[in-house]
Symmetry: C2
Subunit: 347 residues, 2 copies
């Protein structure tokens, strides 16, 4: 092959490169990549769950801060996180790519491989897509489908005053990882002037930013066991997630600032103790899940969270009848800050 | 409201503007815009059909050649055309928008209104979406869902030698309309130097380019009555559609050049008779349907096509056991030209 860029290769041959990499379909895929549309056999007596999310070069990723494999993987992972927040089992995805003509074929292949790797790991059939030229940045838009039992849907609404708030895993790691990548140390590493010498915590934070792990199994199990009254994912940060869940459920919340499970890297990248809580509340992209748990379901919920290979969950506060959103910290109370906004410029 | 651009308004308020415009949902939508994902109740004993297609500013549309309403309408229409080509009934759609921060709110609203207008016309529930900033062109990516009876799927494969090829409506109009828009007359109209003085045929061609009409009802009726052995839509031109259908069905085709139902504007925008057939075969975006019809189904197929408010269908050739793709014209035969490529620059 003498072509070097996707512009030289053209749409049909790019689609063929995706088709060649897609794993064999299971019996639920009637028609995959290659017709006017894909055809899927839905599971009987299940509802279909649908979500869409795009990553745009210069907004959600920059080539100097990540790898092409990670971009492809993240494009699917962020959608699986949305399915997880509904308690849905992921089934299939379609992929819409906008590519600058100068994009290297090698990079294109790596994006596709990263996405297919995540698809394989979570049993998602890549059934179709679309490739177009982009005269600006690259974008990768994924729509993912799942299924859920009608009475086991985890909504944002449904929580009540007195329910406890739990978050999975740790918070602030992705934002801390991004901050480290944007800083001077990472620039020197990229320039080859020094070895990557972040601590283990910082390197883990970078991995959380680049390769988020959607909490698919946790969301499904909590949904199946009706162990939560509401759920939302942390794509736009903890403060935003709390705001979304409480607004949909028409309740308020009191958060214990000291109870939030902060990623260990946060203390390293943010020396100012006051600002640390802001990073934890407003930094986005952790893709953890926030649950509202009625007190009578607490034992079931905590029993689930102790199952092997599930992330830990931590109680961070409770819902209130008063609509205020309050964070308590070292004796005093403050209003919850605004969340992370993807529409605002980053970097 | 003092804000003028989408960047000033921000993601949450843009989503609210979409939600406010979405028509009330029918009973099959369990959860629409506003949660982590949408939840739909699939029709029992039907397969789900899924397709995705994006329009990118500078590739698929330019603001100087179209209106914002038409961009929104077309973004959904091109996806409904794919569903029609499968014989599927459209049900729902999700919308992913990439917006330059400087985009006027007025333009944003018009794009959304155009899309919702088509959604309302075809009974499509707009159940979710995503808005992000784009540092380059605007893009609008739609994923549409439909349903079809398992034994009534119209595939690209399934046609056999001896089957007749039919095309709906007329061909070449969208390409002729675009060519007129790119020409000197249209530039003078835009500059206010003269009134739009294209003939009726040319004005109709411009409308076909800007406001394609997906052949939803025709596709569904042909599928339901099993009146065709294969089908594909004409998004990338007639030659490309013939190529896709014959490749998937492993047959060849002999096309009667003189039988193709050419849009009346083509003769006006392309005075050269030789080049006219090229425009008709390779010009894209007509969004008509190409059907392979077994001879024993011809009467059923033609009876359907005579139903009120369906476009006419025209026999343009037949499929052959020999794999060649041949166009006959005024006694001599030539190879079918390559189709329209969205990946190549336009305009």
């Amino acid at each position: 092959m003498t072509e070097r860029t996707v512009g030289e290769l053209g749409e049909a041959r790019l689609i063929a490169r995706i088709r060649d990499r897609v794993p064999p379909y299971g019996p639920s895929v009637v028609l995959g990549v290659g017709d006017d549309a894909a055809v899927i056999s839905p599971e009987p007596r299940r509802l279909s769950v649908v979500t869409t999310d795009a990553l745009v070069e210069g907004v959600h990723f920059e080539w100097r801060l990540t790898t092409a494999r990670d971009v492809g993987a993240k494009a699917l992972a962020v959608n699986l996180s949305d399915l997880a927040a509904m308690g849905a089992a992921p089934l299939a995805a379609v992929l819409s790519l906008g590519l600058p003509e100068s994009l290297e074929i090698e990079r294109f292949d790596a994006v596709v491989e990263g996405l297919i790797d995540v698809a394989r790991r979570y049993g998602v059939a890549v059934v179709g897509g679309n490739i177009t030229r982009s005269p600006g940045p690259m974008f990768i838009d994924v729509t993912a489908f799942g299924s859920v039992h009608p009475r086991r849907v985890l909504r944002r609404s449904g929580a009540r005053p007195g329910d406890e708030l739990y978050v999975s895993g740790t918070v602030g790691g992705a934002a801390a990882g991004l901050r480290w990548l944007l800083g001077a140390d990472a620039a020197r590493v990229r320039a080859g002037e020094q070895e990557a010498d972040g601590s283990n915590a910082v390197m883990d934070a970078v991995a959380r930013y680049r390769q988020p792990e959607p909490r698919v199994r946790l969301g499904m199990l909590v949904g199946r066991n009706r162990a939560a009254s509401a759920c939302v994912d942390l794509s736009d940060g903890l403060a935003d997630a709390i705001r979304q869940l409480t607004a949909a459920s028409q309740v308020g919340a009191r958060i214990e600032g000291g109870a939030i499970p902060v990623h260990p890297s946060v203390a390293e990248v943010e020396p100012d103790v006051e600002r640390r809580l802001d990073l934890v509340l407003s930094g986005g992209e952790d893709y953890e899940l926030l649950f509202a748990v009625p007190r009578r379901r607490r034992r079931t919920f905590l029993a689930l969270s102790r199952l092997a290979s599930l992330p830990p969950v931590t109680r961070i506060g409770e819902l209130t009848a008063s609509p205020d959103l309050v964070v308590r910290r070292q004796g005093h109370e403050a209003a919850l800050p605004r969340g992370f906004a993807h529409f605002a410029p980053v970097g």
